[in-house]
């Protein structure tokens, strides 16, 4: 089983992101589960959301304490929260930043795990025209981890949004995917 924690601020789409990832994993033929932090959600306040992906039915329903992956929509949250608390030793962090992996580590924004930086904000602004970060960063997640197929993410987005909105989001998602993929290869 793979466990993923999303960090974001209310309004950035962490909860929807966790849902889209779970939906895409289902479309990959896997079992999945997503859930928000249980509490009142306020715009701007730090929020977490969670996704589990497995090859067999998922029964566990407690919180995630030792994630395999952490997805960070807003790196400023690191000022108040340890973003990688409990992260598995071989875990990875996909973080929205215009900076490099080295800098992110140097500045102690992320203190452990393999770091995949992605400038999701710029991509979102350029392609979608607004700072919608969840779909963009999922493109990077797909490229970095291979836990979910890009095609399935496309489908999940198409299922959720209108045609026009889905097209823009998927274009931005693909761009992020290619950026990370290009860097990896």
């Amino acid at each position: 089983m793979k466990e993923i924690i999303f960090h974001g601020r209310g309004g950035q789409g962490a909860v929807a992101g966790a849902d889209i990832l779970a939906d895409a994993a289902m479309r990959d033929g896997k079992y999945s589960q997503s859930f928000p932090t249980f509490g009142p959600e306020r715009r701007g306040a730090p929020v977490m959301a969670f996704t589990r992906i497995d090859d067999k039915p998922i029964r566990v329903r407690c919180q995630i304490y030792e994630p395999d992956y952490v997805i960070v929509l807003d790196s400023t949250i690191s000022k108040t929260q340890n973003l990688t608390a409990g992260l598995k030793p071989d875990g990875s962090v996909i973080i929205n930043t215009s900076s490099t992996a080295e800098k992110v580590r140097e500045e102690k924004i992320v203190t452990q795990g393999k770091i995949y930086p992605i400038d999701a904000t710029s991509i979102a602004m350029n392609i979608i025209g607004s700072p919608i970060l969840n779909t963009v960063i999922l493109g990077a997640f797909s490229a970095a981890t291979g836990e979910v197929k890009l095609k399935s993410l496309f489908e999940a987005v198409e299922n959720r949004f209108s045609k026009v909105v889905a097209e823009k989001n998927n274009k931005a998602m693909e761009e992020a995917y290619n950026v990370v993929k290009g860097r990896k290869d």
Partner: protein
């Protein structure tokens, strides 16, 4: 063709209500139930569900409206939790006494005070003895399937009691996972339209006038109480049967309980709702890592209480731990009392352990459940318990204990 969709527990409930083709939904918003009635309102607005929605002025009004609608022959659904369910309390007894087959989803939530909107089972426990049946579900799929089963069971002539489908607030109501949704026709074949009989049901029909809900002198009241008792007893058998029929039609069966690896178990953990799934994972881990023979017994049907199934699962085990998400102040925990009652006339019974966990949304994690198993295995070995009531995850630094 089934469709497989990712959806939350609340969405699964709403989809099932839609496919049950209810006539009336009456409810009042409360967290975390709200999205159920929002989805249903959307279905109605889009013309996907031909039902009347009455957003009452309170949960009290909602249950009253449900009773009114059911008493003229409508198939009726409502949903609530916590303070809302407590506010309905008076009318819950009326609905059961009038023998109206209303189905209600309860997104289990704590009761104030302290104020909070997180999961525990205090709310539904308060309605335990109202005559309503209570079924606790573990997954979004089970939530969907149970609503369909519940309408069928409630409307069965030998039962005619309202049913609560209980799902853990947030932990299930707001968790999304893949759910198989059958076609409308398949559901309709399994659950035909509700057709009350004016000579038997509480049915207000100007062509066959009756007076319903009036007074009854002491000389007859106990007989009607007995009728409700009998309906729950028969309902136990009928839920088994309906669950089988459902399995034949849709390929999924749940039983009144699920006995997970209980056959050879020395120690069994009994729980309801979402704790069960986590406990199964923990049991598997303990079996493979420590070689402990542990099992999990999920209580799905809580009222009627699955006495035979509990005894069968516990037979041969040495210790049984009941993990309750509710408290009976001054005694212990309601579910423990129920399990103990089921075993009261068994000559050689296992040691019983009473655990309180997950109150007010306290996460019931793997570590906590592993500790429960450890204590239970120890009790299985020694035949003794350390404490009469154990609080899982309690911050003892703050309160002692």
């Amino acid at each position: 063709m089934n469709t497989r969709k990712l959806m939350s527990g609340n969405r699964a409930i709403a989809e099932a209500v839609k496919l049950s083709e209810v006539n009336v939904v009456s409810a009042y918003p409360i967290t975390p139930q709200t999205s159920i009635v929002e989805y249903l309102s959307e279905f109605i607005a889009r013309g996907e569900l031909a039902a009347e929605f009455v957003q009452a002025e309170s949960e009290f009004g909602a249950m009253s409206a449900c009773i009114g609608a059911s008493s003229v022959g409508a198939r009726v659904f409502t949903a609530t939790c916590s303070q809302g369910l407590a506010l309905m309390h008076e009318l819950n007894y009326v609905a059961a006494g009038l023998r109206l087959p209303i189905v209600m989803a309860v997104t289990n939530r704590q009761l104030s005070q302290p104020l909070g909107m997180w999961c525990d089972h205090s709310d539904a426990m308060g309605e335990r003895d109202s005559g309503w049946m209570q079924i606790y579900v573990e997954s979004c799929q089970e939530a969907f399937d149970t609503v369909i089963q519940a309408f069928k069971l409630a409307e069965t002539k030998e039962v005619l009691l309202p049913i609560m489908v209980c799902l853990d607030g947030f932990i299930l109501s707001h968790t999304s996972e893949p759910v198989e949704i059958p076609e409308q026709k398949e559901i309709r074949d399994f659950l035909p339209a509700y057709k009350p009989d004016a000579d038997y049901h509480t049915l207000l029909d100007v062509k066959k006038p009756l007076a319903a809900g009036g007074g009854c002198p002491p000389a007859f009241t106990m007989e009607f109480d007995y009728k409700k008792y009998e309906a729950q007893e028969k309902g136990r058998e009928l839920l088994r049967k309906i669950d089988e029929e459902f399995g034949d039609a849709f390929g999924r069966r749940y039983g009144l309980v699920e006995a997970y690896k209980c056959d050879d178990a020395d120690a069994i953990l009994v729980a309801m709702g979402t704790i069960v799934g986590t406990a199964k994972d923990v049991a598997d881990k303990l079996r493979s890592e420590k070689g402990w023979r542990v099992g999990v017994l999920k209580l799905r049907s809580y009222r009627p209480f699955p006495k035979e199934e509990v005894l069968k699962a516990a037979f041969g085990s040495k210790a049984v731990a009941v993990v309750s998400r509710a408290i009976s102040y001054g005694l212990g925990a309601p579910v423990f009392s129920d399990v103990a009652t089921a075993m009261s006339n068994v000559p050689e019974k296992p040691v019983l352990l009473n655990f309180i966990a997950g109150m007010g949304g306290r996460d019931v994690d793997k570590k906590g459940l592993a500790a429960v198993f450890e204590k239970t295995i120890k009790a299985a070995e020694t035949g003794k318990i350390e404490n009469e009531v154990e609080w899982v995850g309690l911050n003892k630094n703050l309160v002692g204990g």
